[in-house]
């Protein structure tokens, strides 16, 4: 009899041994086991370690559902930490929500969870242990004042739509618009930026346009004034008087203006005729007013693009 019992014990210890070897451990991390009230969520975390060829069968994971009339399983999250030293580790997060309304502190149980691990042919059970906790009541059993037992917490009144985000967005958009307008005006020489000393050709172009547009039939005076305005722009750009023979040095000092070299030479020869040869008509023929205005605009845009 004693021998039989020993064999039975040996069998019992040997038979489950292979299954135990494949499941290393299941550790349950739970929140505090007391002081929970109706509607609370409880997150249980199970650390599961399996021997390497085994993986947790995803089909054995529970689906979020109502487990009992008072207990819901809200969320199931499984994260796989991979294999390390022949052991595969998982973290299983189980989020429960309790809707029990106790009259006095009461112990309740979250049932155990049966999962399984597979390695292709074999299947071993993995048991996440049960857990119990104390739930506390929210209210006294018998109200002290009349009608207090049925006094409800107040409604949530409707709130106006918050307007602050839209105001903030409007102010930000207008600020950006103002900044962009400033950059644009600076670059185009609009408004106060047009009188900047660093943009003599912008000023000259305005002078040329207004002089040539002032009279329908371009008088020699207006034409000469326009020529003079451009010459002053050349002078103040170079920092000294610029004459036809100084032009190569001017283009060497201000390379972007080199793209308009031919027109600039025409301008200088026309003004030589107008001022020194006293032949305004010839100058008008060599560089007609529309071309003079076009040249002024061209020089202004060359200057603007970073001369």
């Amino acid at each position: 009899m004693g021998r039989l019992a020993r064999v039975a014990i040996l069998l019992l210890t040997f038979l489950p041994a292979p299954a135990l070897a494949q499941l290393r451990s299941v550790e349950l991390y739970a929140p505090r086991p007391f002081g929970h009230v109706i509607g609370d969520t409880l997150t249980l975390t199970a650390e599961i370690a399996l021997d390497a060829p085994f993986v947790l069968d995803p089909a054995s994971l529970p689906q979020p559902r109502a487990l009992d009339y008072w207990l819901d399983l809200r969320d199931v999250r499984l994260s796989d930490h991979g294999i390390e030293a022949g052991v595969r580790r998982y973290t299983l997060d189980l989020v429960y929500q309790t809707f029990y309304a106790p009259l006095e502190p009461r112990r309740l149980d979250i049932p155990a969870l049966a999962l399984s691990a597979v390695d292709g042919t074999r299947r071993v059970p993995v048991q996440v242990p049960a857990w119990s906790f104390l739930m506390s009541p929210l209210r006294e059993i018998v109200g002290t004042g009349p009608g207090q037992a049925l006094a409800l917490r107040p409604d949530l009144p409707p709130q106006p739509i918050p307007m602050v985000p839209a105001w903030r967005g409007l102010v930000a958009a207008l600020t950006v618009a103002l900044a962009a307008l400033g950059v644009l005006a600076w670059q185009m020489g609009w408004g106060p930026f047009g009188w900047r000393r660093s943009r003599p050709f912008a000023r000259a172009a305005r002078a040329v346009t207004s002089l040539l547009a002032a009279s329908t039939d371009v008088t020699s005076n207006a034409y000469r004034g326009a020529l003079l305005a451009l010459h002053r722009a050349f002078d103040s750009t170079a920092g000294k008087g610029v004459f036809a023979e100084d032009l190569p040095a001017f283009f060497a000092g201000h390379p972007p203006f080199g793209t308009a070299e031919a027109e600039v030479r025409r301008l200088f020869s026309a003004s030589r005729r107008a001022f020194f040869g006293d032949d305004t008509a010839g100058a008008l023929k060599e560089l007609p007013p529309p071309e003079l205005a076009a040249l002024a605009r061209r020089l202004r845009s060359i200057e603007r693009s970073g001369a």
Partner: protein, 186 residues
């Protein structure tokens, strides 16, 4: 393309975009201002129909208006839409206010001893509080009122078959505290 032209193009594009954004924000301010005026007039007791396209705040204001005047049948379509809305805060508030309205009516029924119409209302209120708590588990007022509703229904175990949440001896202790129970014949 040279640097100056690039700066002009970029700043013009930014100017156009920011002006468009400013116009959009300005339009939203005007619309929000109008909707806030409607919400305020609902709060002062003028009924206004709210269409499904209105912003959630306005639909919630209308729901609150109807729920606080016990017009629960008209409230249900509004609640169904708000409860599935992306704005979780308003969904919780709508579920909670609606459950409160049902529970208040149920308590009125119980006060005049009409138990049969009260029980389904309490059950619906419990359902509403539970859905609100699923969305926001830290909502204490919903917990409190759900507790009130739970005790109400459990106190009629012969009607509510799933009212086994409380041990019978506790129910007996609570019996005398209940409203709407016969206090004995005159």
């Amino acid at each position: 393309m040279n640097a100056g032209r690039l700066i002009i193009l970029a700043s013009s594009a930014i100017l156009a975009l920011s002006l468009a954004a400013a116009a959009w924000f300005g339009g939203r301010l005007v619309v929000d201002h109008r909707d806030n005026a409607l919400i305020a007039s609902l709060a002062t007791g003028h009924d206004l129909a709210a269409s499904p396209d209105d912003p959630a705040e306005l639909r919630f204001a209308r729901l609150f208006f109807l729920a606080t005047r016990d017009r629960l049948d008209e409230t249900q379509p509004l609640l169904n839409r708000l409860a599935t809305d992306t704005d979780r805060r308003l969904a919780v508030a709508a579920l909670y206010d609606m459950a409160n309205a049902r529970l208040r009516i149920a308590i009125d029924h119980l006060g005049s001893n009409r138990i049969d119409p009260a029980v389904p209302l309490v059950r619906l209120a419990k359902e509403g509080y539970r859905r609100a708590l699923v969305l926001d588990p830290g909502f204490w007022d919903a917990k409190y009122n759900l507790d009130v509703a739970m005790r109400l229904v459990r106190d009629f175990p012969q009607i509510d078959v799933d009212g086994e949440e409380m041990p019978p001896e506790a129910a007996k202790r609570l019996w005398t505290d209940l409203p709407g129970l016969p206090k004995g014949l005159p």
